[in-house]
């Protein structure tokens, strides 16, 4: 990918604790409003980004590496990249067994977004890219 083709990425970096999710959603709301998205689409983005972050927080294993959310607004889509410093985990793999939400995080991301991409970062963490076409 040619880096010069990317718009400036807006980022928020938080400690991997569920109490920080509301703060991340406020960030998503700001980006959504800047991109002139409909309220329903902003809601969808909030859910998808929250699910990706909640997954990352669950497998952070008590590490203190920050969770980084990077938002980019393109002419045809809005993209959120969620990167963590934990060890790579298949998103949702832990959830179904540990809780009664039947691993809903990943299915929700897929249902609400136009594209979901999951990759390992060079540092061994997990990188989730969520795209919404506009």
């Amino acid at each position: 990918m040619n880096p010069t083709a990317k718009p400036r990425c807006r980022t928020i970096s938080v400690t991997p604790e569920p109490s920080r999710l509301a703060e991340i959603r406020r960030f998503v709301e700001e980006v959504g409003l800047e991109a002139s998205l409909e309220p329903e689409r902003i809601f969808d983005l909030k859910v998808a980004v929250s699910e990706a972050c909640a997954n990352a927080m669950e497998h952070s294993g008590g590490q203190h590496a920050p969770l980084v959310v990077c938002a980019s607004i393109y002419t045809d889509r809005v993209v959120f990249e969620i990167s963590d410093g934990g060890d790579f985990r298949v998103p949702g793999a832990l959830r179904g067994s540990a809780r009664d939400d039947r691993g809903l995080g990943l299915p929700l991301m897929v249902a609400l977004m136009d594209e979901v991409r999951i990759a390992k970062t060079r540092g061994g963490g997990t990188n989730v890219t969520l795209s919404l076409y506009v």
């Binding site: 509301a22 959603r25 309220p39 909640a54 039947r102 995080g105 929700l108």
Partner: protein, 117 residues
């Protein structure tokens, strides 16, 4: 998120407001568990003032439906359009143990019919 509980015509009604996510869902679970442990077969959850829900909150609804399974149902009252859409996506809206109502009178009325005093 804030949560409060009362009984309306004998029917348990938990009212939540704000955002229900992975960081805040525990207090909702605790409020609903009180009625599950009391043996209530029907529990109502007022979602009128809930602006956001994700799998953190949905897991609480699923656990409650599971806890009531066979005995009754969980009735969601007045979820907003976005919340309602998520409940549909995860399949709760077609679950026998889960019902959605437009307002509290409709919900308490249905609860009364289901379990006549």
């Amino acid at each position: 998120m804030r949560v409060s509980s009362k009984r309306v015509e004998g029917v348990p009604l938990v009212a939540a407001s704000g955002e229900i996510d992975h960081g805040s869902s525990r207090s909702l679970q605790e409020a609903l568990d009180v009625f599950l442990e009391a043996g209530d077969a029907i529990v109502l959850l007022d979602l009128t003032d809930v602006t956001y829900i994700d799998s953190g909150g949905i897991s609480v609804l699923l656990a409650t439906v599971h806890g009531l399974r066979g005995a009754g149902w969980l009735g969601a009252v007045n979820p907003n359009q976005n919340v309602r859409r998520l409940l549909e996506i995860v399949g709760l809206s077609i679950d026998n143990g889960f019902r959605i109502f437009d307002d509290t009178p409709a919900a308490t009325s249905a609860a009364g019919e289901a379990s006549p005093a």
